[in-house]
Symmetry: D5
């Protein structure tokens, strides 16, 4: 059993039962974004969370260790084509240099970590049309001199 197979099982369960990512996340006490990314094979869950999720969804017992394996993160489209994902890519293209300017103005020469990192996404009701809010928080890492 590998990560792709476990992802397939989870998506099939989701379709059958209508269970949401939100409720899966709640069931194991982790965030929606992290839970979803681990289920899609892009992160490794701590073993206890992984086992809990497997039990919660009624997956075979071997699914737990697989969810806890360290993935090799492959994203095959260097420019994503799905419109929902492309818009995020476009934001990096349009605002990437801007974010660099502001991060480095605030913190000096360095970056925002994508490893010591967390992210949240919400839908916010709005009379002029609902909005999606994404919040990212990553550790500031200054370049080392030596």
């Amino acid at each position: 059993m590998n990560k792709a197979e476990v992802t397939g099982m989870i998506l099939a369960k989701k379709k059958q039962t209508g269970i949401t990512w939100a409720s899966m996340a709640e069931a194991i006490g982790m965030s929606e974004v992290f839970t979803t990314s681990a289920c899609l094979g892009m992160n490794s869950m701590p073993r206890d969370k992984a086992d809990k999720l497997a039990t919660h969804l009624g997956l075979p017992q071997e699914a737990g260790p697989v969810l806890a394996e360290f993935p090799t993160k492959m994203f095959e489209q260097s420019i994503p084509t799905d419109p929902c994902i492309y818009r995020l890519y476009e934001i990096v293209g349009v605002y990437g240099q801007t974010l660099k300017e502001l991060i480095q103005e605030k913190g000096g020469d360095g970056i925002m970590s994508a490893i010591d990192f967390e992210m949240y996404v919400e839908k916010i009701p709005d009379p002029k049309g609902d909005r999606i809010e994404i919040k990212m928080s990553g550790k500031f890492l200054p370049y080392k001199n030596w």
Copy 2:
């Protein structure tokens, strides 16, 4: 005078005077991210803001209309190489499918707009190491059926 030349003037002023993006933004009553992106030639400022900024920085008068021109947004590296910008690209690669799942679970088949969109970036002090926080808010656009 074109956008690239005005960007050059602004960066030169910044170097000479040490003025920050934050203070430029404050001076014209716009956000840091939008102000910076417009100065880098990736957005168009409303004419009155543009003129105010030109005056504030002591740029030639023609700079105002140029900052108000509609740009053609070109990002030449389809995969950015600067580490600070690459980390953002990596986040889209690693979490793109996750964000799509969650946006569409919350809102139905649709996307977060990158046009009716705003973004904020802050450095948050933290005893375990300061953090960078990025907040995005984009209108949810459902796919139309017809």
Copy 3:
């Protein structure tokens, strides 16, 4: 059962029975372009339309929910090779900057949405050779300042 399998079933039915996209669209009261794109796996139908189409074509009952799933839109050829599709790509290449100039002259800095969007295609008889007419209508989205 996934979207690719349902597409395969629809294309097989079409071949056997000679049913057209036009008549499928009419049967469910949606446009030809949207109906075809959903059958090819590039859009999600409302559940009732999806069930109606499944019944109309004599597909297995599970096909309905599948047609209603939200797709991940993948287009694998960044430059299409089929001559019929390439001509559309060429039009974007040759007239893209022109359309941008005219859209922004008419509406200010902004774009035509590809999400809040509809499209129609017709063949128009013409003594000098029949013509194909394509009409697109997308919401104008102005860039937000903040």
Copy 4:
């Protein structure tokens, strides 16, 4: 004097005088799309129209013949990055196979010409938000058997 220089002169005039593409098109009795594309160096105007436009804008006399030269059409970004142009590219990606199905259902094995072709773009007021309408008309060319 070459096409790029004439384009530069026209854009400079436009900026100085505020003249629109629409009024240039009207002045020479051609459509907005064709006029704009020729001014941007992507089409050749008939000589008389070219001279009329040069006179109308007060360009040097040599500009006329240059606007009438046959261009080599180069589009440097195989995937456009400007959001306004990318949306058109995305439409080809998402709906390309759909349009092929419908064109060939209506006309047999063949294509819509991008040469014997015309296009119009309008902004249509709409209480739910203005819309952009694009109409294309291209000759249907059936594949020849031999």
Copy 5:
């Protein structure tokens, strides 16, 4: 049964029986180039020719309709590697601009159609070494002004 499977059957027959493309073309009264391209899945034969060929080669009856289906033309190598095909690509690279100059000198701004198009290939005996001759004929399409 799809086009790739029919191509497979034809190539297998060819290997078994030694029948040539030339004789297949003659049997159905079409040209060698068109017949071969349709058998390789790159063109659609008129239904009667397709049925005739299926009978002639002793293929199953369903092969006829498949040969008559409209193909989606995919060429996976944007730069072909087979030396025999690369030489043709090289000719387009080396002489492309030359052909454009001469076509447009002779016909005005326009192109040679690749749709209303035919092609022939022959081997011509020559004491200094046999030669291959390729003849192409495509309708001249002038760019439309509007």
Copy 6:
């Protein structure tokens, strides 16, 4: 003085005087295609022809030797974007495998040379619309066994 400069001079002369590629070719007793390709810097003329052409066009004397230099053939767009040149590329994509089948059926395992090669292009009047005819002749080169 280099090949690009000489090409520039010839194109300028052509524009001023209206001289055609056909008449240049005739003046030096070479074919239109070869003459044009050498003027565009993609072939080397024999020295006497080169000098004759330089004299005929009233170019500086140094242009002769430059036209006789051996070029490094660079074609910068691996997929050409100009529609007139793209159609030739498309023909290689659609018919490349077909031509290989027929060349090798007629001559055995081998290729058509693009070096020991000549090509002609004509416009042929036709009541249903004029046609462009291209004729290529290349030496057949069988693969050597050793």
Copy 7:
């Protein structure tokens, strides 16, 4: 049975029996390089040599005709990654222009054929470390003028 399958059989035999490319080549009286390339599916053997090799290796009788088929030469990595093959690619990159200068200084405007071509490879003992020697011989083809 196709070329890939025959290659698989030959490699399996090689592994089982320890037979070398050198001894296969000797057994059929052809060179090592040509024999190996034909076994790997990159060249076609004359039918009698192919049959001899099939018999020599104890392959099924159908393998002979397959080795004699004309291959379509595909090399999937445009920049090879295996270090042994990359070094050859690097030599073309570093010395390509040099070889062109010297070939054309010696022979005039032309090329070394890769079709009427042969190649040998040897290991030469050397006290300072053994060396690999590769010898290529290709017909000089002068560009034709016409």
Copy 8:
């Protein structure tokens, strides 16, 4: 003065005086291939050879040290387009795996060095058409185990 400028001077001298690469190589007692590659900026000459060549060609004195500088080897076309250079690339594509098989059959797991490497090129008269011979010799480097 940089390597590109020195290359330009040498090529200009060559054009003026007709001096060959062969005679330059002889004058400094090095091989034709190495001498040419160093003059084209792809290798560094020992300082004494560099000075000798500068003197021999009547270049300014600073040219010597520049020819002796260590170059950064850049080859901008990952697939070369010039037919003379492409044929070499094609040979790597067609015969790369073959050479790897033979080098490793003869020497074990390892490669032919492209650094401890030398190459020679000759034109060999032949009644059936002159031939180009290229000889390469590179040190065999076995992979280290540790």
Copy 9:
């Protein structure tokens, strides 16, 4: 049985038994890096080590010879996407020119071999956060003059 299958068996054993790369390396008396790379199919083990490892892990006997086969090293992502591997790629991008300057300052015009090469990786405890240390040692190869 091929290298990919043996890699699969080793990874499965590792998962079942929890055996580490470190202990496998120790069991056969080779380094961790080399042992791991050979198990992943990127190097060939000496036959005795390969047999020893197969026995140690309880793999089928044929696994030994397979681990000793010479691999064709393929790395499919020219820019790796996994963050752990990308950081190494980034180091080459950011520091590549720096390393070249320093290697050549210390050794003259030449390179560090990736063939006569060894590498070690360790985790070093550190109160400010543990560190990873990588040590590479490759033979210096000076460019040959000839």
Copy 10:
């Protein structure tokens, strides 16, 4: 004055005076690798080190602040062509997955930082041929769960 210009000045000084990277590094009390990378524009020096270096080399005073500016790190060749740099890229390709396995076996799911990172390079005399040693040390960053 920008970073590229300061790099140019430093390289020119180096050529004139023969000063080494090692001695520059020693003069300012930083490592060779960091000093060289900052001089090549790939890192920012602390202001006092930057001023010291400018003085040490006799550069204009403005060079100090420029060396202290935060660079945008661009590496234009995604696959480097210079053999000395390519070998490092090849090491990432061949050993990337191996290093990931070992780093994560030792530290859990995480990466080696390329930001909190240092590197050293030495030439080590060796009777069998001198060796280059590269040592990297980067902080281990575990993936955060949230």
